[in-house]
């Protein structure tokens, strides 16, 4: 019964792929279409992930696919004035902001901007027309469509998304903010695709926000590939704050060259169903790869973070720290894997996952795995699932704090270890106060929508308050 949903969905997608081929191919380069065709065959052969797969054991897609989704293979939103419906409310956050509405690039400015320092920011669809060589050189290189079925699906249908190229030695001083908005009357199935390239010695900070403005059912399968060339620095912040009826699968592929530095933060504040897949190939010596995550989930939300860190070359350093607080019937999965290959001597890799369960109905599954083939390494991993430390609680109570306040303080302290890693001060402050409010249970719907709510026209939100 359940498997039929996935089969039907797969068949629908196969059919759409052939029917809409012209629209999907668009102005993509021949190279992109070759990659697309290859990924399509993978999807045709393997289909959707199933719970029989190790990495999807606790995360079942089938119930989510039982919806008549609407697909959109051409850009309907190019001329929309997004500012009317959405404004980022992180005060003092000075960014170069890009908006994607329902997976399509919104032409707020030009589709593709070339800054004075040579940085190119804009729509991927446009970049394929204007800079085909640059796109061809990178696109799909780090994406393992064999291993990741959702990545194969995204690649088969890749059309538009964000494109950034930072030339050699350029430091993009303003963070680039990508806002992914889902706002549709009908249940939509979206597959945005982003390509980020930081050339030698370049520096880039990317803030990536996922929002839904309606409580309609939606399914997003997004893929981002990031290439950090020699000595490049990339900071990536992902803030997920989606409606309860939305399903979000994010595939992030990072490819690091010699001496590059990467920091990735994934903060999941809300979302009905969230699966984050992070795959990092450390393909150079002396790299640094830091991965932080925080998930605060309640009701029947489900969040699954899957991290694969592949140390392919020697002398690199990687660190994972994922923390979560689970309330009500929420479930969380963490599956981290560090692979140290034969040649990656003198690797230092650490991995940590801590969970706090607030109720008996919440569930945490954690699998911190190490696979090591080199001997001169320092690797450690740890995982804990538990409650707040009773001794710390006693200490605070003995100082005259009531239990409620003490609990909140401890939870905030627990979460802030991750929040502190955010290097953009304005964003850090904002996230910190969001987390605080979230943990106090004070978030109203407007505030829950994280970064907007400068109260433009509330009617456009179309939110059913009774559901909250």
């Amino acid at each position: 019964m359940e498997t039929t949903h996935t089969t039907l969905m797969k068949e629908k997608l196969l059919e759409l792929y052939h029917k809409e081929q012209e629209a999907i191919r668009g102005n993509a380069t021949p190279m992109v279409n070759r990659i697309r065709q290859h990924a399509f065959s993978r999807f045709r052969d393997n289909g959707f992930p199933s719970i029989k797969q190790e990495s999807w054991r606790f995360t079942d897609l089938t119930p989510l696919l039982n919806t008549e989704f609407v697909f959109d293979f051409s850009n309907q939103s190019r001329s929309m004035d997004v500012d009317k419906i959405f404004t980022c409310d992180v005060y003092d956050l000075d960014t170069f902001s890009i908006t994607l509405l329902n997976g399509w690039f919104v032409y707020k400015h030009a589709p593709l901007t070339r800054l004075s320092n040579g940085t190119i920011i804009g729509s991927l669809a446009k970049a394929m027309e204007v800079y085909p060589d640059l796109v061809d050189q990178y696109i799909g290189k780090a994406v393992k469509t064999e291993q990741y079925r959702m990545a194969a699906l995204n690649t088969a249908f890749l059309q538009d998304g964000l494109f950034i190229y930072v030339p050699e030695g350029v430091n993009v001083d303003k963070p680039v903010q990508l806002i992914n908005i889902v706002n549709a009357e009908n249940p939509v199935f979206l597959q945005p695709r982003h390509l980020i390239i930081a050339d030698k010695g370049a520096k880039l900070t990317l803030v990536h926000c996922d929002h839904s403005l309606t409580h309609k059912v939606s399914f997003t399968n997004t893929l981002m590939e990031v290439y950090a060339e020699e000595n490049a620095t990339v900071d990536h912040y992902k803030i997920q704050n989606k409606g309860r009826n939305s399903a979000l699968v994010t595939n992030s592929f990072f490819h690091q060259k010699k001496g590059s530095r990467l920091q990735s933060n994934i903060i999941t504040l809300n979302g009905g169903f969230t699966k984050n897949i992070v795959d990092v190939s450390i393909d150079g010596t002396n790299c640094n790869s830091e991965h932080y995550g925080l998930y605060l989930v309640d009701s029947n939300q489900h969040v699954d973070n899957q991290l694969n860190i592949n140390h392919l070359k020697a002398k690199s350093h990687s660190n994972q720290l994922y923390k979560g607080i689970l309330d009500d019937e929420a479930t969380a999965v963490f599956s981290g894997k560090v692979l140290v290959s034969r040649h990656a001597q003198q690797t230092e890799a650490h991995q940590n996952n801590n969970n706090i369960l607030l109720t008996d109905d919440a569930k945490a599954n954690t699998q911190p795995h190490l696979e090591i083939y080199a001997d001169d390494v320092k690797c450690s991993h740890g995982a804990t699932v538990g409650q707040l430390d009773p001794e710390a609680m006693f200490y605070m109570r003995s100082r005259g704090l009531c239990e409620r306040t003490a609990r909140q303080m401890m939870m905030i302290a627990f979460a802030s270890e991750v929040v502190q890693k955010i290097s953009i001060e304005a964003l850090q402050k904002r996230i910190h106060s969001m987390v605080e409010k979230r943990l106090r249970g004070e978030l109203t719907i407007c505030e829950q929508c994280v970064l907007h709510c400068n109260s433009k026209e509330p009617t456009t939100f179309n939110i059913d308050l009774s559901k909250l």
Partner: protein
């Protein structure tokens, strides 16, 4: 220094298997192949009650519907199950009044292994139920045990004498539907051991069984069942050595332990099957299902294992902590060398309130071997205040080997605390340096450090076993110095 290191590691890899010899005894074998007829043949040969045959056939039919699992981190050529011999028993089945009547060759085998069958060794206080190619040939200390009402005999004997007990308990912890190899074992198991400790009895002896694979091309499928009634205590030891054979031998055993209220079972094992030669040729495939259940409140089961042999080890001694306040422990040292592969660990399933479990696993890999820890800690919705602590360390002794850790933690209530920590590293240069500057040579230093590293687990073994275990570590790691 690394040159010296390599040289030593090579020497260690070169150390020969000291327990490799082969005894020529006439065998009574089932023809190769696996059909319902084979299952019936085994059952008939052993003159089993009807329920046993029915159980075997159910298991066999289920096995046919299964596919061999491939998720473990091991590689081996496909096994042709039709090519194996599923039953082999020494042809002479004498009833011994004294040791003089025992086949002298067999006695010699035991002597080489140091099994204490004779008078002098009886003083060591060990009752031995030796299984040689599936059928029990000798038992001692029966009298002392009988005085306490303890049953300790071969599985076949138990089937004849205590069919009720077997029928009641067999397959309750590891059902034949559990996994591929459990189904296979349930269908064709040849013999094994059965221990029953009545209510309130503290077993005065360490129960010990030595297993030994002997004839070529014989799969050994033992089945062990230990039942500890309310308030009883038993310490059970199992040890294995195997002779050098070129062909891979399949070993798919089942061990079931049932501990009732306030009972305690301590299960220790030293496994040293033939690991194959330096190129990974030959060696035993050790695919074992071991599981215990703390059925009643305050029950306790502990597994201690030293795994040094086998070409492939695939085993997860598990515990179901069903009774409230029950305790589970798992201590393991797994050593792999040359081309050995080990995928081992444990499962702790917490169901009762205030249940506690401890996991200490030490992996040591050298040569071109792969050593994985794979473990599950699961606490159910009702397992209030469940507590687990896991520590899995890996030590790498060369740049061609692999050490992997695959823990799974599933927590289903808010009052449980589950902690897991693991480290992977090579032998500390500082420790080596310290030993060297005290005048200990490199080889001695490595042996010393490795033994110290494993000590936490070795100290959990019963005295008699601890000595053997240390020797085995020496054989495996210290090479010629041994």
């Amino acid at each position: 220094m690394s040159d010296k290191n390599n040289q030593i590691l090579e020497e260690i890899g070169g150390s020969d298997y000291k327990y490799g010899f082969y005894t020529d005894i006439e065998m009574d074998q089932a023809p190769p192949g696996l059909t319902e007829d084979t299952v019936r043949f085994i059952s008939a040969k052993k003159n089993e009650p009807d329920f046993m045959l029915a159980f075997r056939l159910r298991a066999f039919r289920h096995w046919k519907t299964l596919k061999e699992p491939d998720w473990a981190h091991v590689e081996y050529p496909p096994i042709n199950y039709q090519d194996l011999i599923y039953y082999s028993a020494p042809r002479k089945r004498p009833k011994y009044d004294s040791l003089d009547e025992v086949d002298p060759e067999l006695l010699e085998t035991f002597e080489k292994l140091g099994i204490p069958l004779d008078e002098q060794k009886m003083l060591a206080g060990v009752a031995v139920d030796a299984v040689m190619d599936s059928v029990s040939v000798g038992s001692t200390f029966k009298k002392t045990l009988a005085e306490h009402g303890i049953i300790f005999c071969s599985f076949s004997e138990a089937l004849q004498k205590h069919p009720g007990l077997i029928k009641k308990h067999m397959g309750t912890v590891v059902p034949y539907t559990d996994n591929y190899f459990a189904a296979l074992n349930s269908a064709v198991f040849s013999d094994g051991s059965f221990a029953y400790i009545p209510k309130g009895v503290k077993c005065p002896l360490e129960l010990s069984t030595y297993f030994r694979i002997n004839a070529a091309k014989t799969g050994q499928f033992e089945r062990t069942l230990i039942v500890a009634e309310e308030g009883s205590y038993v310490s059970y030891m199992e040890g294995c050595t195997a002779p050098i054979r070129d062909e891979n031998q399949l070993h798919a055993a089942i061990v079931e332990i049932i501990a009732h209220k306030d009972a305690e079972v301590k299960y220790s094992t030293v496994q040293n099957w033939w690991p194959g030669d330096k190129e990974g040729k030959g060696g035993v495939y050790n695919f074992v299902t071991k599981r215990g259940i703390c059925e009643g409140d305050n029950a306790k089961i502990s597994w201690t294992q030293v795994e040094t042999g086998s070409a492939i080890t695939w085993k997860y001694p598990s515990l179901i902590l069903k009774g409230n306040n029950s305790t589970g422990e798992f201590y393991s040292v797994a050593v792999t060398n040359n081309r050995q592969q080990a995928d081992t660990g444990t499962k702790m399933i917490h169901l009762g309130k205030n249940t506690k479990s401890t996991i200490i696993s030490k992996g040591i890999s050298g040569g071109r071997s792969n050593n994985s820890y794979r473990g599950l800690v699961k606490t159910g919705r009702k397992a209030e205040n469940a507590r687990n602590f896991s520590q899995c360390d890996s030590l790498l002794l060369g740049d061609q080997c692999g050490a992997h850790t695959f823990p799974y933690i599933d927590v289903g209530n808010r009052s449980s605390i589950v902690e897991h920590e693991a480290t992977t590293s090579k032998i500390s240069e500082d420790q080596l340096f310290y030993c060297l500057q005290r005048g200990i040579d490199m080889e001695g230093a490595i042996g010393l450090i490795v033994n110290g590293y494993a000590k936490e687990v070795l100290s959990k073994l019963p005295m008699e076993f601890a000595v053997e275990a240390q020797k085995l570590l020496s054989v495996n790691l210290e090479g010629s110095v041994g």
